[in-house]
Symmetry: C2
Amino acid sequence: MSYPKKVMLREVGPRDGLQNEPVWLATEDKIAWINQLSQTGLSYIELTSFVHPKWIPALRDALDVAKGISRVKGVTYAALVPNQKGLENALEGGIDEASVFMSASETHNVKNINKSTADTLQVLKQVTDDAKKANLSVRAYLSTVFGCPYEKRVPIEQVIRLADSLFEFGISELSLGDTIGAANPVQVEIVLEALLKRFPASQLALHFHDTRGTALANILTALQMGITIFDGSTGGLGGCPYAPGSSGNAATEDIVYMFEQMGIETNVKLAKLLPAAKWIEEKIGKHLPSRNLQVYKSSL
Amino acid sequence: MSYPKKVMLREVGPRDGLQNEPVWLATEDKIAWINQLSQTGLSYIELTSFVHPKWIPALRDALDVAKGISRVKGVTYAALVPNQKGLENALEGGIDEASVFMSASETHNVKNINKSTADTLQVLKQVTDDAKKANLSVRAYLSTVFGCPYEKRVPIEQVIRLADSLFEFGISELSLGDTIGAANPVQVEIVLEALLKRFPASQLALHFHDTRGTALANILTALQMGITIFDGSTGGLGGCPYAPGSSGNAATEDIVYMFEQMGIETNVKLAKLLPAAKWIEEKIGKHLPSRNLQVYKSSL
């Protein structure tokens, strides 16, 4: 089996991980954690979300976080931006890249964003336009690509149709999400085979949840198909509150461990990432699902 | 990618899972659990270990367990048998298959069995001979194939040499163990490439631990290499007390979930296996690492 020599990781813990935590993490703790992550070698950190605080109260301090962190050269600091108002705040916070998001499933999109996919596309077109005018690159998340908690299977034609629109708007990268953590390697192969006929691997990222233990097997398959960009959340922090039964982003350290052992360069130092995972586990005050974090803790 | 249509699973939870548990599980509970497992569609269950109670006190009721279970037609009931005395008890218990075990690493073998690999081979030759005379098939475990907690890398030549001897003795199947749960897909490919030049895939099983999250990715790789026999422990129960930092056999239900979703037949019904995982978690009284068990519990 031939594998690429290096991959790129997108750290989504401070946004995707923290957004559903019922515990309030103080702004200075968020900043301290992001500053730790900035020292690990990660080249991309999604800081926060500029969504209205009514929807994600855990990240209501988005602007303070974005303004408070110590930026490290070479790290792209991104933030989720749902609309024009969010973009204004994100620009004030000095972020480097805007992430926009929608669901591939109509029902999940309505439940999550309170809009049809058609209406969401119009908003994302405007945000992408405006972000690009402000010299930001734009990344899009397409969730429920591998299954929807309401509609179950999501037709690949729907994924392609939405991806077409998003790339037309000018996004630079599309992150395909297994929101409910139910994907399997054969499905990953089928979905990617269809998408790679239309879009280059260099513009596709995979965002797996480890809900049912298959995240690293799915990542391996995507890697075998030529994908080299993967989302992870340090500690395995996160999930989706609107997707019943879902939990646990793939832990960045588990992804890094596997790649490192396979001889694939991630540029991330586990010796720095693991303490950052332990730190956030202690702050959040609950057992996180990362496997390597447990090994690390038992080694101390 | 082309995959086999079906695989065989070897359930090792009652032996490999329970052997290290500090909590005493009552004999009738062991029997009740094995009886549940017998109803899941599993065709192979390793019941217990006929090792001297001094070494594995948690399984000191091996004979009562072997005699007490309700056997289901089509299920092979195996037990670990270290020596002649163990074999006598196993035969009295009416087991179908004897498992013998050793380490590929010299140091690990000495620490685990208190003998050199050369001396262990002599014992296993005798046990295999005697077991076959009593019409039992014999399975061998070779542990630390993918790494040793003391010697780190274990040379593939050492693995081949020991495998050669064991097959010469007349074992029907060799289970290759990732005792410390540190294997990665590239390593699995390299090790299997070497072994498959010499031994048929139908006689090799893979025994992964999910200590660092890579078990299912490793299983996927082995499957891609033609391996169709995998060990699992319901709930992800187990580990190795002699291997520092090791913990958690690959959970049978996580393996079954992935295969089932990939369209690969396991013959195991998750609807019956998951309650058996929940049952043992409650009896043991600690959180087990299985991912699908957590999803199942949150669905109740």
